[in-house]
Symmetry: D2
Subunit: 161 residues, 4 copies
């Protein structure tokens, strides 16, 4: 099982990762269902592959800010969680994932039927994993980028998610 560690691919190219832990999918789903806040936000897992996790929510008044758009805090929540799980999907079995920090730019008002966050690993590492997250709204056929983020995750020994 070879892990692709920074082989110098360009930023726009799609990277295919191989997970260290064949059981990564169960680890992510087990952790996901135990997160009360994600359930409270109505989040679901749309995609789950090594180094790439997609979460989404459907529009509801309980998820909005004063103009009826999806709330910036919800956007940040989905970005951080999707990226955290993308990082976890690449980690060795006996560790858990912790968010160290993240930075997020809001790009457009988040209006639409669904809010979708793609978390992707940029650089997997033994201690730190750098990720990006891209968040979009989907309204019928139309897909609009609403936010993008750069995130740092840490592996923590003896800390099961």
């Amino acid at each position: 099982m070879i892990l692709d560690e920074g082989a110098g691919m360009g930023p726009g190219e799609r990277r295919t990762f191989v997970a260290r832990d064949p059981d990564y999918e169960r680890r992510v789903r087990d952790s996901f269902v135990r997160q009360g806040f994600l359930r409270h936000c109505g989040a679901v897992i749309d995609e789950l592959a090594p180094g790439h996790v997609t979460l989404s929510v459907r529009h509801a008044e309980a998820l909005t800010q004063q103009h009826g758009f999806f709330h910036g805090g919800l956007i940040a929540t989905l970005a951080d969680t999707a990226a955290g799980y993308a990082a976890l999907s690449m980690m060795r079995p006996e560790v858990g994932v912790l968010s160290v920090e993240f930075k997020l730019n809001f790009i457009a008002p988040a209006r639409g039927e669904r809010l979708v966050a793609h978390g992707r690993v940029i650089r997997p590492g033994r201690t730190l994993t750098v990720c990006r997250a891209d968040v979009e709204t989907v309204d019928g056929e139309r897909v609009t980028e609403v936010a993008t983020a750069l995130l740092t995750m840490m592996s923590v020994d003896g800390f099961q998610d």
Copy 2:
């Protein structure tokens, strides 16, 4: 009415601001009650002064991650909202506030009875306002810093909050 605009005070010193709009408190409260997501998170306004807004929530399972701590996305939500309102409290009457971006570092696990976010203006400006946010948990007498953030807000003409 003099606005304190970057007179070179040191980073650790408390800055006292004077609001441009005497009606700032009503503007912030009116906007707050229209945010469905804040109500859904159980957030309340604890403090509201020019350039300084404090929000908090009480612990609930619906606000947690897999270890029972307050969720990182909730921490980010309170930080961004408190800072956004701190910025709005300093803006002239005919504009609204928009989050441009923010970066947040997680400092300690967020366990406790209450999660409290202080949003403070660092540098007010005509178009952009730079803020910081400090988030802590309160458990009886004990106060623990759990996150700190640096945020950029923008004034938007003809965009009432």
Copy 3:
């Protein structure tokens, strides 16, 4: 002249921009030669297209940190400048560009013969432009990603670069 403004393209796809100002190349080059610090760092412009600017430097002891790698501050300098010029190349003629803020993750030690920074516009706007920057080292055939950044730039009226 149609400007591509957030038409919802995915994050990994290459975006082709059309400049608002046909004279964008001269504006960028005129500004570049007046920056004493860039000359002091030995930076040169490798590529200059609407929304995409590449700068580089050749290895020199004067550009290193204590292990002989390119200094993190130099990496940040090239990232911020390349992104700033990518943003400027998309702006209308009568404005200048200002860096509002940026966040940069270091991904690998920066060792090699050349340090190359690609600044790209993600989201052009009237007041704010969101950019990314990717920095790599080049050593013969080998290209290694060393840093990635997310940056916010502002258009400033009556402020010629």
Copy 4:
């Protein structure tokens, strides 16, 4: 020797740290003189205390951008280096410091006789240290804040600075 590790002090209060390594000053100075880029920028150490390091440069054309202000990349260089050394001053003897990432907001144009960067530890830790940096210009009596940053540093075993 008691290390102050996140005792819950408020964000505006000054924190006094005690170094783990009594020889911290020599470690920082030894590393500083080996950084070619810092010498090339004319940087000097003004202050060196556990958890607090101040660096500065005097104005020179070689350090400027197109309007004659100190270059944003130089501001970032001093901020990252000062914070890195503030973190190193708090680390145990057998490790080195590595910049993981940082985010910096520009607050005012950096004009003045001297550019001064204060790096301060916010949260020391075994693996990660969170810092802030505040950069100002000094012109005779006048001190102006020009930038502020939030930075993450990592301890690396067997990696002497």
